[in-house]
Amino acid sequence: MKLSSFRKKSPWILHYNAGGCNGCDIEILACLAPKYDIERFGMINTGNPKQSDILLVTGPVTKRSRERLVEIYAQMPEPKVVVSCGVCACTGGVFRGMYNCEGGIDQYIPVDVYVCGCGTRPEQIIDGVIQALAILEKKTKELEQSVRLKKEPVKEDTQLNRRNIAGEIIKTA
């Protein structure tokens, strides 16, 4: 099996609070717990940006946490998907316009799925993450396509065929 199929079956989640009120964070925690149990989709919560595929962000971006947010995003390997949880991560919500807040995380990093609600319900978070999975798959495909440098697909095999050569060597020997 290829790496991509593993990624589809077990996306790992990274969670960062960019200044929210904790409400959405405890709902993410509740998603990991037995009642909602997102581990049945193979997801686990990692603390390491280098190992994760989906970034769950809560909170309006405060001026101090935005550096960390961008840094964490930059450290995640491609392909990656960002899910913004809660209305204050989507638009700033009730914190919009406060002097130390930015209105939503999409001013700093590209967001793929917006999950609304203050606070979001676990069902909504699960739904958002499932949508993120589809986007992850799409992004993976795009990424793998670009590896072929957008050439015309190769019709016939012009490369050296080692087996044939080996056969000829054996024949002549």
Binding site: Y16, N17, A18, G19, G20, C21, N22, G23, C24, D25, I26, E27, L29, A30, L32, A33, P34, K35, N45, T46, G47, N48, P49, G59, P60, T62, R64, S65, R68, I72, C88, G93, V94, F95, G97, M98, Y99, N100, C101, C118, G119, R121, P122
Partner: protein
């Protein structure tokens, strides 16, 4: 003296729910010094409450200070505003506020306990505690209409009534929860592996706790009898509904677990009493007055004493609002209690403080 190393922890870390940064100076795994950096989530709520929002809207805004104890914040603000506009709220509203505060305390304490278990490396207990916690979220949803961010206390009273069917449901669920809580107490108290991680870790003496002005379960685990529910009677009648103080002496992580677990019994008793004795009256006192003068309110949030100060000037918008959250009082003691511990037990100790940074930095 051995070689000293500096180890940073945070701002993003698997064992932290919120951005919090500690810098530990360690010497052979032993922590000799710590500095804490807590203001990552400062949003400027106080300033916005005094400029952008009218005083009736502020009770919804301060609920967003913290998602775990949002009811404590909105209740404390409502009380302070009621003092400013000089009204007395109906008795039924007082009882309903206490009901939701205690339900909130159950969910918050269970969350903290599960977090301690997870950070001590006991994943199964984390799952178990979270599973048992889910009932309190369902009850809160039944009472207030939302799992978190209840928006239940408003200036003048409460926003929703308690239907008799919901009261019955609460009693039934609590009856079901009691044996589960007994089971949890047994595990947290007697499990040998957990005790290796928790007993003696992060200990603080009673004198230190007094000197560093600790509040909440952190103080009560060290033997310091501080609880606002024991001290104020005028706004919410706690003693009437059977409040009792829970104390421990050791002051370590294990003692904090025990204090939290035994407080759950008290909370359950309070809830049962409230539902049994719920007085009949209106839900809200209407008034057209504008806030005037100064007032101070203290309330016992799940993490300790929450303090609100407000000043009005006869307009719709407050002149000043000041929030002092329990974790803010505890930070100096948190830094102190790390000293002399192994670096490996740091996650469990942090979780046992139950820090709430979004309260602290607002």
């Amino acid at each position: 003296m051995g070689k000293q190393y500096e180890i940073p922890l945070g701002a993003q870390h698997i064992s932290l729910l919120e951005p919090l940064h500690f810098k530990f100076t360690t010497e052979n795994e032993k922590i000799v010094d710590t500095t804490a950096n807590i203001f990552y989530v400062h949003r400027g709520i106080e300033q916005a409450c005094c400029s952008k929002f009218k005083f009736r809207q502020v009770s919804f805004v301060v609920g967003r200070v913290c998602g775990l104890c949002s009811i404590s914040h909105s209740t404390a603000y409502s009380q302070v505003a009621e003092k400013l506009v000089k009204i007395e709220i109906p008795r039924r509203a007082k009882y309903l506020r206490m009901l939701v505060i205690e339900l909130d305390r159950i969910h918050s304490h269970l969350l903290c306990l599960s977090h301690v278990a997870e950070n001590s490396g006991f994943e199964a207990l984390f799952m178990k505690t979270m599973q048992y916690r889910e009932f309190s979220m369902e009850l809160l949803e039944a009472v207030c209409g939302n799992r978190i961010q209840y928006d239940f206390s408003i200036v003048g009273g409460v926003a929703r009534d308690l239907k008799p069917a919901v009261g019955q449901m609460i009693l039934e669920r609590l009856k079901k929860f009691k044996p589960q809580l007994d089971e949890l107490v047994d595990i947290y108290e007697n499990n040998w592996t957990l005790s290796l991680k928790n007993k003696g870790a992060g200990a603080i003496t009673k004198e230190d706790a007094m000197r560093l002005n600790v509040v909440g379960p952190f103080a009560r685990a060290a033997g310091l009898a501080i609880d606002v529910r024991n001290e104020t009677e005028d706004l919410l009648p706690w003693k009437e509904v059977g409040f009792e103080m829970v104390l421990d002496t050791a002051g370590d992580v294990h003692a904090r677990n025990m204090v939290r677990l035994h407080e759950l019994y008290v909370s359950m008793r309070i809830i049962e009493n409230i539902i049994a004795r719920l007085p009949e009256s209106a839900l809200i006192t209407e008034t057209k007055a504008f806030p005037d003068g100064e007032a101070v309110v203290r309330i016992e949030a799940p993490r300790g004493e929450l303090f609100y100060y407000a000043k009005g000037n006869k307009t719709q918008v407050l002149e000043r609002l000041k929030i002092k959250a329990p974790t803010f009082s505890n930070v100096s003691a948190m830094v102190e209690a790390f000293k002399g511990n192994e670096y490996g037990s740091v996650p469990a100790i942090i979780a046992s403080y139950d820090p709430c940074l979004s309260c602290t930095s607002r």
